[in-house]
Amino acid sequence: MSQKILPLHPLEKRVLIAGYGEDNSWTIQHYEKNYKGYEAAKKAVSMPADDIIKTVKDSGLRGLGGAGFPTGMKWGFIPKNSSKPVYLVCNADEGEPGTFKDRQIMEHCPHRLIEGMIAAAVAIGSKTGYIYVRGELRLAIKRLEDAINEAYAKNYLGQNIFGSGKAFDLTVHPGAGAYICGEETGLIESLEGDRGQPRLKPPFPAISGAFGGPTIVNNVATLAHVPGILLNGAEWFIKMGNGTNRGAGTAVWCVSGDVQKPGFFEVPVGTKLSTMLNEICGGPLTGRKFKACFPGGSSSPLLKAEEFDVPMDFDTLAAKGTMMGSCAIIVVDDSRSIPEVCMRTARFYAHESCGQCVPCREGTKWTYKMLRRVCSGQGTKSDLKNVQSACDNMAGKTICVLSDACAMPVTSMLKKFPEEFEKLLIPESEFTPELPKVSGQLGSVLDAIRARQQS
């Protein structure tokens, strides 16, 4: 929410947040009157499920929650005629640092998400859906609950949606503050009323997920794209992006950090990063120069300023060794210290590790601690080596990819800005180990040693 309403840049194309800033954009009346609201859902209830899945596959829609998995293909994994109930869960946990796109959709255009969920539910044969919303986002929760009530009143939700004989019930489920609940199996654990600790896969949620039933977890923005695709066709979606189904449709990018105009901007997938930062966001702050950015949230490896001339789509960014992630660009300029940014990145993951896997629990903690020492001017060469080895030893070796999400950006900063880290190091010979603070006799002995070290 809460970005002042600025005139749109010519490159901005609003689909997901169409209507943002208009009076009562969150009401069903406004959505139906101005944005062909619920026409796609009406169409979907009478379409064969396979046709919906095919259209979504053809459109090239990929998940906007972080992993970029092709959405139609994911839906296709749901077993046909499952004897257990199928669940559709919307991931609205919005926890990736730098990301604030989903709340714009939920707070200002909640009906687009609800409509997308109805169509998705028909496609996968689900009668029950949940929107797992980050607990702090009270306005989003309220707007969604009001919108759901409006949809029930019109029989767009309930036991006989659009008079089709099909049923779909939808409930908002509040999270309670834990980044790891954004990971889809952690989210399912949390939805079931447990601690949000990720599950070992397989089985994948599409086979056995929430309450033991086949489950699809999709991000808010992914689901909110479905109405447009069903109404206007796959071709429309492909053309809107860079014209290939590698980069179809639009995405809401969140820009934060060191730029003139931070905020959220919906533009076609494939728009260049440099265009976004210089033209739409007004360039660097006065007197400063861009140094680097995270292009897809704090889990994505950094790009240096000289690499900004790149189209932002899943495959191109992957080829550059980074990712589109959650569409969150965090910009760092030349007045900043990369080691400081790196330390804060690691601190986040150390705080959010759920602690189930030793490589992640210990690796994120030690990465943070060693980086903290380096930043305080007390680190040595071996600290840097240990950071790298902690990262190498956790990525890919754990239940979920939170450990990779820590290792990837940290490794990229060590690799792309080695001189900034080395500048802070002291020779091994000058290293003084940090002595623990304890009370009693041992404490006074340690105090004496500390005093000697300092003199």
């Binding site: 929410m1 809460s2 970005q3 002042k4 109930p85 919005e94 926890g95 990736e96 640092p97 730098g98 990301t99 604030f100 989903d102 709340r103 980050r134 607990g135 702090e136 986002l137 009270r138 306005l139 309220k142 019930d169 409930t171 489920h173 509040p174 999270g175 309670a176 503050g177 834990a178 980044y179 949390s190 079931e192 009323g193 447990d194 601690r195 949000g196 600790q197 309450f211 969140c254 820009v255 934060s256 950090g257 060191d258 931070p262 905020g263 959220f264 995270f294 704090s298 969150a328 965090i330 910009v331 760092v332 900043r336 400081e340 940014v341 804060r344 990145t345 986040f348 705080h351 959010e352």
Partner: protein, 181 residues
């Protein structure tokens, strides 16, 4: 010694609880939503409220505590009347959250995770609040957001809260008045 009144659902919460039970295939799934409602009503999850929720949920109090303690929004200890939580993640750091934290520490004369002697405020650091475009950000009591902070703005927020003014401001109202951000 006066015995404190034991916690029970208010009729509002009871109604909501009964409705929640119809929304999920298992009873356990109601735990997070109901803990939110109890905490809203009771300010924090007191031991007697946990015991009561456990009884209503057919769980042991230890189990309720085990789940609740996983989540940072649930308060298992009493805190200040207004908990000021400042985001210290990357985007907020880049936009000056360190200065905000230092200022609040000085102004309230407390350290992080402490409560002011009058019980009015506590100060905490939190991770990204999904408002990075309007950084730096702080939230009061877990969900009332204040964005694009400056030192003056922080002082105004504290001044208001000292008089219990503008606490839990109606979000919709704040947005329609254009005073958010």
């Amino acid at each position: 010694m006066a015995t404190e009144k034991k916690y029970e659902f208010s009729s509002e919460v009871e109604k909501r609880f009964q409705w929640l039970l119809t929304r999920y295939p298992t009873k356990d799934a109601v735990l997070l939503p109901i803990l939110h409602l109890v905490q809203d009503e009771n300010k924090w999850l007191t031991p007697d409220s946990i015991e009561y929720v456990a009884k209503r949920m057919d769980l042991s109090p230890a189990r309720v505590r085990e789940v609740a303690s996983f989540y940072t929004m649930f308060r298992l200890n009493q805190k200040g009347q207004y908990v000021l939580q400042v985001c210290h993640n990357i985007s907020c750091y880049l936009r000056g959250s360190d200065g905000v934290i230092e200022h609040i520490k000085k102004r309230l004369n407390i350290k992080e995770n402490e409560i002011t002697p009058d019980g009015k405020f506590s100060l905490e650091r939190v991770e990204c609040l999904a408002s990075c475009g309007t950084a730096p950000v702080l939230q009061v009591n877990g969900w009332d957001y204040h964005e694009e902070l400056t030192i003056e703005k922080v002082d105004r927020i504290i001044d208001d809260l000292l008089k219990d003014k503008n606490a839990y401001l109606d979000y919709e109202k704040r947005i329609s008045e254009g005073s958010v951000a």
